[in-house]
Subunit: 145 residues, 2 copies
């Protein structure tokens, strides 16, 4: 017996299948992000750091957000600072702390990256408001952060 219109509703994926789907989605997101960042001559990690700097923050906070050792952040920020994309500033409240902030050039790069990533996610732009609400809610449930 072959199915006639309307087609059968799709079977819900098992948790394992959904995990695989999440893995492919995460890979696709970063492939897209890395390609856009490369358009500005930036690596994936450099693009991530710039995108995280919506506000000035200590090196230490950056390391926590990137889930890497603090010693790595020194080199990453060195390379971004050499290209005038970020600046280090002393924290007046605690002289051990260095605050990292975007320069004007860095802010422009972030705007280009965000626009580029969004432009490549045409499937997201086509999503109706209820679907956007559902996707946001489901992602919050799976990744409470």
């Amino acid at each position: 017996m072959t199915s006639l219109a309307p087609p059968n509703p799709p079977a819900p994926p098992s948790p394992g299948e959904l995990m695989d789907r999440l893995a492919r989605a995460a890979a696709a997101y970063y492939r897209n992000f890395a390609a856009v960042a490369a358009g500005d001559g930036l690596t994936l990690m450099q693009g991530k750091v710039l995108s995280l700097l919506r506000r000035p923050m200590p090196m230490r906070t950056l390391a926590e957000l990137l889930a890497c050792d603090a010693s790595n952040v020194t080199g990453i920020i060195d390379r971004l600072e050499a290209r005038d994309l970020v600046r280090r500033e002393a924290d007046p409240a605690d002289r051990r702390v260095k605050l990292v902030l975007l320069t004007e050039t860095g802010q422009e790069a972030v705007r280009r990256i965000r626009a580029g990533v969004l432009a490549d996610l045409d499937g997201l732009a086509a999503l109706a408001a209820p679907d956007r609400e559902a996707l946001g809610r489901l992602l919050d449930q799976v990744f409470p952060d």
Copy 2:
């Protein structure tokens, strides 16, 4: 006027806000994956390669799936082979091609990684079947691959 129960439905996120949510979800997925892989002494990339090897495949195919240059795959497979997690085999149909396949040890590592990632995604295990179907469908729309 303060809201009484039931609370107002949440406002749908804008495409830009949803993009940020996707970025955090992708980061959380890889943070989880990398931590589980590290439990087996594997890097993120090594864990990804093992997970991709559901079937034997040429080095070239692996490079395409990883979206990296083929020369990188040589070193990654070298290190996995030195730990007896994968093997190279000549392709009888084309002697230029080397097929990479999981050893028994490699298959065990993949099972541990998959179980570990799934176990850490407790928000996913708690999802009811209709929510799993909706999330899978929405991810397919945003990341058609």
